[in-house]
Symmetry: D2
Subunit: 289 residues, 4 copies
Amino acid sequence: MDYFIIMRFKIGCVLSYEVYISSTFIFNISAEKNEYQNILKEKLTVDPNLQIKEFIAKNNLTRSHMLFVEQGKFDIAYEAEVEISSVVHNVDDAAEIHTTKLPHNVIEYLYPSRYCESDKLIRITQKEFANIPSGFSRVTAICNWIYENVEYLFGTTGNMTSAYDTVAERAGVCRDFAHLGIALCRALGIPARFCSSYAYGLNPPDFHAYFEAYLGNSWYIFDPTRLAPQTSFVKIGTGHDAADLSFATIIGNAEMKNIEITMDSISTDENNNIIEPKFTTKPITSGHL
Amino acid sequence: MDYFIIMRFKIGCVLSYEVYISSTFIFNISAEKNEYQNILKEKLTVDPNLQIKEFIAKNNLTRSHMLFVEQGKFDIAYEAEVEISSVVHNVDDAAEIHTTKLPHNVIEYLYPSRYCESDKLIRITQKEFANIPSGFSRVTAICNWIYENVEYLFGTTGNMTSAYDTVAERAGVCRDFAHLGIALCRALGIPARFCSSYAYGLNPPDFHAYFEAYLGNSWYIFDPTRLAPQTSFVKIGTGHDAADLSFATIIGNAEMKNIEITMDSISTDENNNIIEPKFTTKPITSGHL
Amino acid sequence: MDYFIIMRFKIGCVLSYEVYISSTFIFNISAEKNEYQNILKEKLTVDPNLQIKEFIAKNNLTRSHMLFVEQGKFDIAYEAEVEISSVVHNVDDAAEIHTTKLPHNVIEYLYPSRYCESDKLIRITQKEFANIPSGFSRVTAICNWIYENVEYLFGTTGNMTSAYDTVAERAGVCRDFAHLGIALCRALGIPARFCSSYAYGLNPPDFHAYFEAYLGNSWYIFDPTRLAPQTSFVKIGTGHDAADLSFATIIGNAEMKNIEITMDSISTDENNNIIEPKFTTKPITSGHL
Amino acid sequence: MDYFIIMRFKIGCVLSYEVYISSTFIFNISAEKNEYQNILKEKLTVDPNLQIKEFIAKNNLTRSHMLFVEQGKFDIAYEAEVEISSVVHNVDDAAEIHTTKLPHNVIEYLYPSRYCESDKLIRITQKEFANIPSGFSRVTAICNWIYENVEYLFGTTGNMTSAYDTVAERAGVCRDFAHLGIALCRALGIPARFCSSYAYGLNPPDFHAYFEAYLGNSWYIFDPTRLAPQTSFVKIGTGHDAADLSFATIIGNAEMKNIEITMDSISTDENNNIIEPKFTTKPITSGHL
């Protein structure tokens, strides 16, 4: 009874840097290639024109791009057209799996990580979520709790902020929401992982972060921010948390001077009108590897 | 319509130390003298017999005792009989006071302190307590929230644990409960201060910590632990938080080897039977300075 | 052999706010009146014209100003001419005082506070400073260590950053430098307190923070930032740390839109030329209360 | 010019639990199988006799064992005889590798993790280690700094303590030492990973933790504790930090009641006398995968 929602998007980003000393950059900005995410075309350009080394981290499908850049100005631009197949499931499919029955490569997503200190949040999770029906309902309850208790607010958090902080301070942006969701899931014994993506309709346009929880043998999409339709997520990659997936890691010294992100729907109906992605409360998976 | 509950207690403590190098000790273990706490008799003894310097910190009425102790074994013992007059108020008396109307010497109890980072807890307080009727009801709601959400548990927290941690980790002992109550009050604009005391019926016997909130021109007693009747609190002192009131501050190097605390009711009824202190949910003040 | 350096300054600040809901403001922006700081003239004005309540917190001489402001725009301006008498001492005068010999009202400045977790920093202090000659040399060594190990950097820290963070992250602004200095002193058993002030020559102009350590029966000035001459510090007040002395505490909801700080020397020599304050490495006290 | 040191050890552990509710256990207590660690014989037994699921996490060679245990008492015992080949290298072989030249599967060990917040420790690393000759010397300098600045002390840290805390608090046990070493390496752009092991001569006997840094195309062993000879490390596994390698992860509720660890050298010389492992300051690798 599962069915697909298929959407096409044109995405792009331009990042501009001032490089103070020769630096190594690792970018995670290109769409992941997976069976549910078909890259129709794409282009990665850098100015000045430098050799780009593409590699795939062993844990997932993220395509990272590494460059060595000399002092001076530096721009990187990515453009792609992507077709996303989102699978809509029945709630009953998204059941929690007993720990002993989990696939081995999923177990690592039960452990605490840099930004998701699930080991410190056992009691709040027990208190708030232990009595909620398990599976999709429970992870949805976690997302609702975050949405209701944490204020979406720019400028109060940074790349030092972790789930532990967010429980106390109750403010943050998409990555903080995702980290908290992940930490609460792991504290309940539900494997969860961090996803970075392009997402439709963000204001201001930006990269997005959400999370996936492992239920019923698939990775289900959850987004406690409610800021963009899940069927519009063009996944860049997955990791334990944002530490694995920073869109730009700089080893050296450089400063980002500008960032521009664009995203348009290029799906059309029979009359050639653009179809906009819609929100859903159904269980969704996409590229479950 | 206020009325008094008057109780008498016999309290005592013996603290034993192994002193590794000559050390200065500051003890906060003797009952505060105030108009609601009448010290009928008391005795402070040390072994070996050393000169004790008593002083009163300017912020409050706490009697501190300072000694300089040479290497070796060292014991300090305190015994007292104290009559406590608890004032039972009407709920309507315990109203919140507008900041601009607060006495000047109360304002400092609005600010964040070492263990009560009220500045970090603004949002959780707004979310949980902004819509509760102000005054005694609101501070009671804070205590109830702590009682229901934080587990009373020995061994999980220490003298590094602050209110910020307790919001996330949800476990602690009486001092952690008091710190959280204080932080939440201050974040709402209600002055709150830390109290250390003897308290009746603790199991195992120990020093106790609770807090006072400034309402209706008095300092009202609140204890989110619900472990001892408020009318049994023999106050040692008050401060911004536990940093001001450690029962023993050691400048040097020494280790506590044993602690014994005793407390008995010596109030009697007309038949000469001992009266035990009772719990109450009424607003109580005691020694409001 | 002590001698005085006497300087005169004209100081001023204008703070502009957008007030979103009726709010209580507590300002700590006016020069402290003490025997070494003579206020020649001063003016505090607010627009719109509101009643200002001046009060002095019991711990020190800080003059706080409290107002209740309705929604809308709000400006406060302070201007003063101040004569400062700095006392220059011999190094030998600035000796460490044994804990048991400290005045009672100084002892509270030995305890950890919100931003100065001296209790967590015992070992680093022992390691770095235990073997340095005690007194002025030792506190100077603390300041040098901070100057050499912590980068002065805007934008990396905020009002959540404490001395504990600064030991690890090694960056901050004047208040972070002062907090770390205080925490390290207290961990060594030297009382230390936070001071906020106007200071000459800051670029960009801003309020300043430094600290005082209690040595030889006076409070000695220390400034690990080396950004302004100590003889130019027009003290606003002292406290346990910045939590006691925020230049503006807002209970309500308002946003600062602009801040302007000015400071000029109005000391003149016999030819009527302006004298600029000079740096010194001598022990300096000023208004030791 | 590399040469091998080959040693044989008999290792064992017995862990005893009281299981309060049916719980899933994941153990990481058995020796890793790798080309430099030859397992001559081994035995894993549980009482009561339950089905044990062995699996290998995809990141490394750690053999994990998972069991589902009912309420009651539960023991697990592991015994093995292992031959370890340690490779002793020239210092020149252990050079730092430029980020762009690192193997892809090594890059993840550059990122911050749960207990190794290298992102927060950039400045202290620059200050202390930027000017030290790169490669083996630099990582050795990191270990020396930790050894000299952090006190080896039981009971002051726990499973919440991270490298950030250890920089400030300066005390810890082997896992804290390893976490700090890893964080400092990563902050310098040197990949580093956590290792858990059996180690010879620990007093009291316990599991051990050390770290490996990626230099000259191999993972080199470093141990800032100096508590056991590197040639005696029987590796259990490697991970980003202790979060990946807890010797026992319990999903449920159980308490460890006893732990016994044994380790003996079974290497003999030509006269059949037992050879004890020796400390070395040479660069050592072992099972570099």
